[in-house]
């Protein structure tokens, strides 16, 4: 048949292995999709999810308190009972509260920036916006944190600025507030909060900006046409439609804060966050089961958070 076709000139003949492969994939697009997904499936499915499951499994083992040996012969909830001891619950509570404050604050700060970038910035200004948001990501995370430590230190630039403005009393008043205050910003929860806010901000701005950009302008016209003041248009149309972006951003800021162990170690108090607890339990303390149980906490919290967000209709506009 192909010979006859070749003679008629209807079918263009191509020879070679590449041509044959191309034709094969054209006939079986499913195979092509499978091959494209295979590396990701191997990585996510086996290496990533597999090790996650192994980790979860660890949390159901218990450590022998005398010998310090992990008993792998039976599954037990003993480690979770240990997790619920007051000092551990304190760590969880502190971390969740920090993550929530960082998330809310970065959403509030990021939204107007993202809004202006999505609605008004064009051409050159848009490039500048992307550069401004992404530039901090080019620098090493550790360098940024140490830089912040210097900024926030008692001898740092922030203190100096407050001094020049004759506002040292304000800073002192803030630092004298119990819990969030301290000797200086660099060793207070306020400092930890500020550094988290700075480091995760791009992860909040970009999804919100993408979400706002996807809102067609004629919806804003329609809202205004139907009698909505700009304020009403914001709350009834723009915000609900941008909400998936806010949620996406908050997943980043919230989960990154929940798991981070470096920032609170460099800037902040001596009280542990979840990440630090995991770090010390799997390291010096050698209590792998408890470290594993600690890592389960952020996973569970994120699960609850996403379920609540879904129930609140945050993904309806997707």
């Amino acid at each position: 048949m192909s010979v006859a076709a070749a003679e008629s000139g209807v079918i263009l003949q191509r020879r070679g292995v590449l041509a044959a492969i191309g034709d094969y994939f054209w006939r079986r697009p499913g195979m092509l999709i499978f091959l494209m997904l295979l590396p990701a499936l191997l990585w996510l499915g086996i290496v990533y999810l597999g090790s996650l499951l192994a980790l979860l499994l660890q949390s159901f083992f218990a450590i022998d308190e005398f010998s310090g040996v992990v008993d792998r012969s039976q599954l037990t909830l003993k480690t979770y009972a240990e997790l619920l001891r007051p000092q551990n619950v304190d760590i969880i509570f502190r971390t969740v509260l920090m993550a929530a404050s960082v998330t809310v604050a970065s959403a509030v700060i990021a939204f107007p920036i993202a809004y202006v970038a999505a609605r008004y910035a064009k051409g050159y200004w848009k490039a500048l916006f992307y550069l401004g948001v992404m530039l901090p990501l080019w620098a090493s995370y550790l360098v940024k944190i140490y830089a912040w430590k210097l900024i926030l230190a008692r001898e740092g630039i922030l203190n100096w600025v407050f001094e020049q403005l004759h506002l040292t009393w304000l800073l002192q008043a803030w630092l004298s507030i119990p819990v969030i205050g301290g000797n200086s910003l660099s060793i207070s929860y306020t400092g930890t909060f500020l550094v988290f806010l700075y480091v995760w901000m791009p992860y909040m701005i970009l999804p919100i900006q993408a979400a706002i950009e996807r809102v067609p302008t004629n919806l804003l016209d329609a809202s205004s046409d139907l009698g909505a003041t700009p304020r009403q248009t914001f709350w009834k149309v723009i915000f609900p439609l941008a909400l998936p972006g806010v949620i996406a951003g908050s997943i980043f800021t919230f989960s990154l804060t929940l798991g981070d162990y470096i920032i609170p170690q460099i800037v902040g108090t001596s009280h542990f966050f979840i990440g630090q607890a995991v770090y010390s339990h799997q390291g010096t303390a050698g209590n792998i089961p408890l470290a594993a149980a600690f890592t389960v906490v952020p996973i569970v919290i994120m699960g609850i958070y996403l379920t609540l967000a879904k129930r609140a209709g945050a993904f309806d506009a997707l």
Partner: protein, 334 residues
């Protein structure tokens, strides 16, 4: 009587582009008014100026006598049906329709009742719980319409509302819109690039070209008595004939328009040559009628004749005939 909408020397520029250039228009209350023109002719800009989405660079717009300069869209009792409907994707159908009442804090029960009534008016009763994404194009169009009329605005603006619908649905919606307009008694201003739609629906039509209004009149005026080559050309596929041709018949050197359907075509005998004898160059069958392209010494004239067995074929010699008043005179040469 106060005009529903009046524009006086209204201009709107975008940079160097004059989207609208000193336009004067008056739309009467209760009228079904069409703004017709090719894309980029300024008709949509005109609509957006009336709605308040754009502000004119010069001139004055009045709605029922009130100057609306600087009045934002949300304080104008004018509603719009958008070209691509602009339904809120995060709300269901009834919430979309009740949106304006929700803003005005109408009690929930009352606004749901009124929204349902508006949906019934566009034959979508019972669809309230669906999402816009679950509706067909025609249904979305009706929701957009219900949302715009639920407040009984003084003026309803429609921006190519039927553009995205297929032919059959479009014809059905044209009828329904006419009936709706009559029963509501609201002034409708309708933007379209489809002359058939404008002529069949509107009481009066304004023809736009390059930011200017070329002619305003009843559909019959526009169709039968175009005042310019542009209008004759754009509204229906009329023959625009040159001053030379016109002067050979009437003696006046002016451009003329000759409707294809007002021309009789007779097969001519072998050598009977007159000024109106030519050769059929093209022939397309259109059902009840057949369109012929006839070459008269270099001028191609379109004629539409009833389809029958003895319609001239391509290459035939034919002679054209038309009543003298079928030749409508337009602007003079120049």
């Amino acid at each position: 009587m106060t005009a529903a909408v009046s524009l006086q020397k209204v201009s709107r520029h975008f940079g160097l582009v004059k989207a609208l250039d000193e336009v004067d228009l008056e739309v009467q209350p209760g009228e079904f008014f069409a703004m017709l023109g090719p894309s980029g002719s300024g008709k949509t800009t005109c609509l957006r100026l009336i709605a308040g989405f754009e502000q004119p660079n010069a001139g004055q717009i009045r709605i029922f006598g009130d100057a609306v300069e600087g009045v934002p869209p949300y304080r104008r009792n004018v509603n719009t049906v958008f070209q691509d409907y602009a339904l809120f994707p995060h709300m269901n159908v009834i919430e979309n329709v009740a949106f304006s009442m929700m803003l005005r804090k109408v009690p929930r029960e009352q606004r749901l009742r009124e929204a349902e009534a508006a949906l019934e008016m566009v034959k979508l009763g019972g669809y309230g719980a669906r999402r816009p994404g679950q509706l067909s194009g025609g249904q979305r169009q009706r929701v957009a319409l219900a949302r715009a009329i639920v407040n009984k605005p003084k003026v309803l603006l429609l921006d190519e509302p039927l553009g995205a619908l297929d032919l059959k649905l479009r014809e059905q919606m044209q009828e329904e819109l006419k009936v709706l307009q009559r029963s509501l008694g609201i002034t409708f201003i309708f933007v379209t690039h489809d002359q058939g739609e404008a002529l069949s629906m509107a009481n009066r039509v304004a023809v736009f070209s390059e930011g200017r209004v070329m002619q305003v009149g009843t559909p019959e005026d526009i169709y039968r008595r175009p005042n310019s080559r542009f209008v004759a050309d754009f509204v229906g596929s009329s023959n625009v004939v040159s001053p030379d041709f016109v002067s050979s018949i009437t003696g006046e050197r002016r451009w003329g328009s000759l409707r294809p359907e007002s021309i009789h075509v007779v097969k001519s005998s072998a050598d009977g040559v007159s000024r109106l004898t030519g050769t059929v160059r093209s022939r397309s069958y259109q059902g009840a009628t057949t369109r012929l392209g006839i070459d008269l010494n270099g001028t191609v004239i379109q004629a539409v004749v009833p389809s029958s067995d003895d319609v001239a074929a391509e290459g035939d010699r034919v002679t054209l005939g038309f009543a003298k008043d079928a030749l409508h005179l337009m602007e003079s040469e120049g």
